[in-house]
Amino acid sequence: MEYIILIISAVFINNIVLAKFLGICPFIGVSNRVETAFGMTGAVMFVMVISAVATYLMQNFILVPLGITFMRTITFILVIAFLVQMVEIILKKVSPSLYQALGIFLPLITTNCIVLGVAVMSVDNDYNLLQSVVFSFANAAGFGLALILMAGIREQLELVNIPKGIDGVPIAFVVAGLLALAFMGFAGIV
């Protein structure tokens, strides 16, 4: 039950994009097509679950015993950059078709603030290993939900006549604002 609440709250109530404002760049940047939105979601989910395990082990078996928790930011970003690099190399060898689908998104993920942000939040909330993994997975799902919804809306928006001044990035932010407003309706369901 605890895990279900964790998932619902991360996906709907405290959606990582629409309520916590992490990962805005890919949210605006790759939300033009539903297809690419799915690809990006897959890649983010993959990297985030692995990095949740890696950063948890790093924090509890290296940083805390040695008393160097202030090195957290440096170690986490290095672990994430290393993981993304490794996932890319392994995927290329093991599953070329999956690499074809996710390949172009992987390098972008290192500087996606969701991965580092969720790793830091898991540590701040004192989650155990299973909780951090579930929390990361749920946040990746929340990111995917917001991204795919946004992509669907933007595909429809292409058919609409938008006044010149607000076309492009501003209209994307207006749509995001309305989405965020809709998501506020989920508040209080758990």
């Binding site: 404002f21 701040d124 001044g165 990035v169 209209i171 604002g177």
Partner: protein, 193 residues
């Protein structure tokens, strides 16, 4: 290059927020009040200034293949310095900015300037570029922060401007997106004239 032009570009012409659309997360996340925006902006400016200078200093020693990881480590070190200093001297601001302080590492402005500018120019230009972009970013945060604080809680930098609570929506997440969208529209309009 004309250094004065180099310094002023970040405020309007190449504003990282309103023209390049880099590093949007903190622009939305910490701007519930103007003073939060100011604090975040100055922290980012410090990191940007220092990392630009050091990248420019060591650009000839870094092998081309590992330059991106090297820049990330460098930026992360300065972020850690900022984190520790803020925790010690401005704990309230540190708490209200929360996770966005460690996230300065993944702010695309930093890596973007290191890669696109500092690694190709001398120390003076790189330092000025860092200051310009950082202060431009700070200005953008203050503008959005002022709009949201003024409409949302009826005050500016914590000083009451009009009585009552204002429009709560602008303090909440949707208001961040809407405020940013319309500020960009207005700035695009000014840019064209």
């Amino acid at each position: 290059m004309n250094q004065w032009k180099n310094f002023t570009k970040g405020f309007f012409r190449e504003s990282p927020t309103f023209a390049l659309f880099l590093g949007m997360c903190p622009v939305l996340g910490v701007t519930t009040s103007a003073s939060n925006g100011l604090g975040m902006g100055l922290a980012t400016t410090f990191v940007l200034f220092m990392s630009n200078i050091v990248v420019s200093l060591i650009k000839s020693f870094i092998p081309d293949k590992v330059r991106i990881p090297a820049y990330i480590v460098l930026i992360a070190s300065f972020v850690t310095i900022v984190e520790l200093v803020m925790q010690a001297y401005v704990p309230d601001l540190f708490d209200s900015l929360g996770v966005f302080i460690p996230l300065i590492v993944v702010n695309c402005i930093l890596l973007g300037r290191a890669e696109a500018f500092a690694s190709k120019h001398d120390i003076l230009s790189a330092g000025i570029d860092g200051l310009s972009m950082g202060l431009g970013f700070t200005l953008a945060l203050i503008i959005i922060g002022c709009v949201r604080e003024f409409l949302g809680s009826g005050s500016l930098f914590g000083l009451e401007i009009y009585p009552g609570n204002g429009i709560l929506l602008f303090i909440l997440p949707p208001g961040a997106f809407l405020a940013l969208a319309y500020v960009i529209v207005i700035i695009n309009r000014i840019r064209k004239v």
